[in-house]
């Protein structure tokens, strides 16, 4: 038969368990607005019934419940949603950064507008037309020279600004590198703390939350996979263990472990010999070539903006590509323009005999000749001859050495409309079409990046909503729980009063019959 005091003990257990649940409710309410907090609940379990089975167990009509015990305090969280959230976060990190970089590029190039490169070219063409109509007019010649300078300066400005943007991307890259390494070492530290607490039979919920937050942060930079190593010692079944973070590519193949039980590895971005582009990324001692680094995330996007060495050993990347196109445009236009300009006769040549006078020049070559395509847009300028005298601007056909002949001015104006191999790839197009193509493909990439950023933001929000739906604190729910637990507590207390009265009855009120 059960003990006399069994009811007291059952009610006492009820009191402590409900009290623990109330404290946890209090903690949930207090943390309702804490970022990354996962709501907790007390795992209430029935205590072992009486009598337990065994040969010497007392025989009773049935097993009787002995109350409740508070099991572990656990987090309410769905790890599957974390995986989803992190995979969207890495996409969002990639596209957001890419969209920002392309957005800057769009602002710099400023097309279509009345002040971009095509506007400068149009003005130059107009001034040549004005001069073709009146080739002798010093005013028209002066305008051609000034507009020529404006074209060269527009190229210089664009090249310099895009280069500055590239330098910024380099800073961003080193900041990203630092952030990744800080996150990895923080995850490692939390891992170690968790490792020392779990074997003692506790669940370090606050540390779990902290680690999940750090992993969310890290997932913005690259695609990661998280697995857990089962803890040893006297750990609870719900204990998560140490997190093992692996860098994975977009097909899910592991590239390298970032954090394991032994500690965090250092991620380092390695530049090429000239320090102009990214060559590889090393993780600990493993070196991953940048072309094999297919892990979507902010890190990859910053590398792509700044520039990297592609499979053919050439510089690639958003800003590098644009710089290359500017060079192509400036170089091809300037050399073709000079070719015609050198052929024709200027007033000075009509007077003193034919010499090859070039119009555009390279500011850094000794004689101003244009031979180096690479970076020419930043060095494009007007030749010293043209600076010296307006009468060095060509106008006449060599067969007709007269001041009124504007054949060559018209030819110069036509260069803008003529087809040349601007891309240095044996494809012919005219200046305007080629530039429209450059702007167009940039615009399409930017549009794609904007759309993808918006899409992955929406997806991430959806996942985040589902995650919050599971894990975040609902005050209404906590209030309901509070009432529930409080009432249960009150009822347990009342049980003790009832037991007290029962005991009072048998101790003080029994055996006094007839008194």
């Amino acid at each position: 038969m059960a003990s006399t005091f069994m009811g007291l003990e059952t009610a006492r257990r009820g009191l402590t368990a409900q009290q623990g649940a109330l404290y946890t409710t209090g903690n949930n309410i207090a943390n309702a607005n804490t970022l990354g907090y996962t709501r907790q609940r007390v795992d209430l379990q029935q205590s072992e019934s009486f009598p337990s089975v065994g040969t010497n167990a007392p025989k009773m009509p049935g097993q009787m419940g002995t109350g409740v015990v508070a099991g572990a305090v656990v987090r309410v969280r769905e790890t599957f949603l974390d995986t989803q959230y992190r995979s969207e976060a890495s996409k969002l990190g990639y596209w957001e950064n890419r969209s920002a970089a392309l957005g800057n590029l769009e602002t710099i190039l400023n097309e279509p507008s009345d002040s971009g490169l095509s506007a400068a070219m149009d003005s130059f063409w107009k001034s040549l037309q004005d001069m073709a109509v009146d080739p002798q007019n010093a005013g028209a010649r002066a305008v051609v020279r000034q507009r020529g300078i404006a074209v060269a300066e527009t190229f210089n400005y664009l090249h310099q600004t895009v280069s500055a943007e590239k330098a910024d991307a380099k800073n961003e890259l080193s900041v990203a590198e630092k952030e990744i390494n800080t996150l990895l070492s923080q995850i490692d530290q939390v891992n170690k703390q968790i490792g020392s607490i779990e074997p003692n039979g506790y669940l370090p919920n606050d540390l779990y939350d902290k680690r999940d937050g750090l992993l969310d942060e890290l997932s913005k930079f690259a695609n990661i996979k998280v697995s857990y190593e089962a803890p040893g010692g006297n750990a609870l079944a719900q204990a998560e263990g140490k997190a093992i973070v692996t860098l994975v590519d977009d097909k899910g193949n592991a590239l390298e472990t970032l954090v394991d039980r032994d500690g965090a590895k250092q991620v380092k971005v390695n530049s090429n010999a000239d320090d102009t582009a990214v060559q590889s990324i090393s993780i600990g001692d493993t070196v991953v070539d940048i072309n094999n680094f297919n892990s979507t995330g902010k890190l990859k996007s910053v590398v792509e903006s700044y520039g990297y060495v592609d499979q053919n050993g050439e510089l690639a990347g958003t800003f590098n590509d644009m710089l290359k196109e500017l060079d192509n445009l400036a170089y091809t236009f300037a050399t073709e323009f000079n070719k015609v300009h050198e052929e024709g006769l200027s007033p000075n040549e009509i007077k003193d005999g034919d010499k090859a006078i070039s119009f555009f020049a390279d500011s850094e070559s000794a004689d101003g000749s244009i031979t180096d395509r690479n970076g020419f847009a930043s060095r494009m300028t007007i030749s010293q001859d043209i600076r010296n005298s307006l009468d060095n601007i060509t106008n006449a056909d060599p067969s007709n050495p007269t001041l009124g002949d504007a054949t060559y001015v018209s030819k110069l104006a036509e260069i803008i409309n003529n087809k040349y191999d601007y891309g240095n790839n044996s494809e012919q197009s005219n200046f305007r079409n080629y530039f429209e193509g450059v702007i167009g493909s940039m615009a399409v990439s930017a549009q794609e990046a904007n759309k993808m950023a918006a899409n992955s933001a929406t997806l991430q929000q959806t996942v985040d909503n589902r995650r919050m739906s599971v894990s975040s604190v609902s005050l209404d729910e906590e209030m309901t729980n509070m009432i529930q637990f409080q009432q249960a507590y009150n009822a347990s207390a009342r049980m003790i009063t009832v037991m007290d009265e029962l005991l009072d009855k048998i101790i003080n009120g029994m055996g006094v019959v007839g008194r």
Binding site: D122, W125, Q129, R432, S469, V473
Partner: protein, 296 residues
């Protein structure tokens, strides 16, 4: 689905911010009058915009080139008219002076008048517009005729390379602005005039008939050139009308491509304004209450 306070407030904040974003975009459209502010808003519109803009710039420039053509043609026409009337007068004087009723003095007076006309023709042949000799083809910096007895024309007058002073009127299409020096103020004209003057000065009527024939030849050649110039003037007017039409078209196409439809944009703006107000109002109401308000 379980819904919590933080979800509701995060969602409502997100909705307010996205509606504010749309509001800013529409505001931008109304303020700039443009459908797009950066190429990624609509790459096709952006690329077309660049093309149409260049196109409009070209048309405007060709229109400006036309004024130079007008200047040349009008001045050439005036010069030719003056030259023709001068030559007509010479023909009259020749016919008058040929008659044997004229005395030596009268013939000398005729010779003087012809000499004046000849000097005048030298001036006409050396007409300068904006510092350019317009009757000397492309060799605009040198005078066509040097005065003398007879006046001599420049050596390169028959050189076909200087014959065409052209102006581009649309891509690849040029128009000649000048009249050919070789068929108008040529050496033959001055030789004939000098011949007539000399004959009258020396009171010699022999061969005047021959000179009359040559003078008619010169007049004919000049009239042919004048007729040609008139025809070219007509063509210029046609080209001008076409370029005017092109300009209107190019402006319209550019505007259709990238200018915002104001009525539509402003309507959208006010619709978005009320949506935004509603989002704000709902957001303020949603977060107000919880179960706590109803617990004693």
């Amino acid at each position: 689905m379980r819904v919590t306070q933080s979800m509701v407030s995060a969602n409502s904040l997100r909705n307010i911010s996205s509606s504010y974003n749309k509001l800013a975009e529409l505001n931008n459209q109304v303020a700039t009058g443009k459908k797009i502010t950066k190429p990624s808003d609509d790459p096709v519109v952006a690329m077309k915009g660049m093309y149409f803009r260049s196109n409009l710039n070209q048309v405007e420039q060709y229109k400006r080139n036309l004024s130079e053509l007008h200047l040349w043609m009008d001045n050439s026409e005036a010069g030719l008219e003056q030259a023709t009337s001068g030559l007509d007068r010479v023909r009259e004087l020749l016919l008058q002076g040929k008659s044997d009723t004229n005395s030596v003095d009268e013939r000398a007076a005729i010779a003087k008048e012809i000499a004046q006309i000849k000097d005048d023709l030298v001036n006409v042949a050396n007409t300068q517009v904006n510092g350019k000799y317009i009757f000397h083809g492309t060799d605009v910096s040198n005078p066509l005729v040097t005065n003398g007895t007879p006046p001599t024309v420049a050596a390169n007058i028959n050189d076909p390379t200087i014959d065409n002073y052209t102006v581009e009127v649309s891509q690849g299409i040029t128009m000649k602005a000048n009249i050919s020096p070789s068929t108008t103020f040529n050496q033959e004209m001055f030789d004939v005039l000098q011949g007539i003057e000399d004959k009258f000065n020396s009171n010699d009527t022999e061969g005047l008939d021959d000179l009359l024939g040559r003078l008619d030849g010169v007049l004919n050649s000049m009239n042919r050139e004048r007729a040609e110039l008139g025809a070219r003037s007509n063509r210029l007017e046609m080209v001008e009308a076409r370029i005017d039409a092109q300009e209107v078209m190019a402006t319209k196409v550019l505007s259709d491509n990238e200018d915002v439809d104001m009525e539509k944009a402003i309507t959208n703006l006010s619709v978005q304004e009320s949506v935004h107000n509603a989002a704000l109002a709902v957001g303020a109401r949603l977060i107000q209450t919880s179960l706590i308000d109803f617990l004693r």
